[in-house]
């Protein structure tokens, strides 16, 4: 009972299979990112999109397979806290980049 309670939350719910799957997928995505840049011959915009997509997918892989976040009720509040944090980061980073990159344009008006 005690052990089951500990397993139900946060990082304690993995199995050998989920860790191996997560690890293989992570290595694959890391290799894709590095190969895109080191291989060359790809247009710059394609590289930026490729790196961003691979990075975002890899972050979700880590969250799912290593930190075991999903839609289950056991980790509902962890997911809630993460979603709230992502909203803050979106406003924070997105707002900073938006304002600073359009600074010249704004100052001319």
């Amino acid at each position: 009972m005690a052990s089951a309670s500990m397993d139900s939350s946060g990082a304690g719910r993995g199995s050998l299979k989920t860790y191996i799957t997560g690890f293989v997928l992570s290595v694959l995505l890391t290799v894709i990112s590095f190969a895109l840049v080191m291989g060359g011959g790809v247009p710059r915009s394609a590289m930026v999109w490729g790196i961003s997509s691979a990075g975002i997918v890899q972050i979700f892989i880590h969250l799912h397979y290593f930190l075991h976040l999903d839609a289950s009720s056991a980790v509902r509040w962890n997911v809630m806290a993460l979603l709230f944090t992502l909203l803050i980061i979106f406003i924070f980073v997105g707002g900073t980049v938006w304002v600073m990159y359009t600074l010249n344009l704004r100052m001319m008006w």
Binding site: G10, G14, S33, I51, F66, I89, T96, Y101
Partner: protein, 204 residues
């Protein structure tokens, strides 16, 4: 009445935790990780804004060596996986396996931080320290903050190896190991952002 008092006392003392307290502590630690994520996002935003101001100095193209960085990344990724396998041993109560897993995780993490310090040292002695340009200030702050987190994680891991050896896999020790593994996986997630945004985007 009596029972309630005892339960409260145990809960307060921290050593013999109530069943619910492990979940509360795990969630509390998760909230800390989320606040840490906001800290890192501030450093990422700073890097995004001033990361292209080279002040006539070197850019990422001149400084970053991708095969070296790939090795560094693999150290941290394999370390994160080793940490996951260690947690499986924790749940099965295999003390010797847990100690071995923690040692492997620790050494891989040490390999990562050693490579990072070596990279920083090489940049600083060739005159490309944080004072060289806005780009390098932002670079050293962001990557250095991550490296500091990893270093503190290593200290924590060493302490936990001592606790596992001395106390065994008691309930409080297992609960601490679980939070350590969350911290370690979290740092690997932040590193995915660092190598994508700072290094790979920096050389193209």
């Amino acid at each position: 009445m009596m029972t309630t008092d005892v339960k409260t006392m145990n809960w307060m003392s921290g050593e013999s935790e109530h069943v619910d307290s492990v979940e509360i502590q795990t969630f509390g630690f998760w909230v800390y990780l989320m606040s840490d994520l906001v800290l890192f996002s501030a450093l990422f935003a700073t890097f995004a804004v001033i990361g292209h101001n080279y002040a006539g100095g070197p850019s990422g193209k001149d400084l970053f060596h991708l095969p070296y960085l790939f090795g560094e990344t693999m150290f941290l990724l394999v370390s994160s996986a080793a940490c996951g396998f260690t947690m499986l041993a924790v749940h099965r109560g295999r003390k010797a396996l847990v100690l071995l897993g923690l040692a492997v995780t620790f050494l891989l993490g040490l390999g990562f931080i050693t490579m990072e310090i070596h990279e920083f040292y090489g940049m600083i002695i060739s005159g490309n320290g944080p004072e060289r340009s806005a780009f390098l200030s932002a670079f050293f702050t962001l990557v250095g903050t991550h490296g500091t987190h990893v270093s503190f994680g290593l200290i924590w891991m060493a302490v936990m190896m001592g606790q596992v050896a001395a106390k065994g896999l008691t309930r409080p020790v297992r609960s601490r190991l679980m939070r350590l593994s969350m911290f370690w996986h979290f740092l690997d997630i932040v590193w995915v952002g660092v190598f994508s945004v700072v290094y790979l985007m920096g050389v193209i």
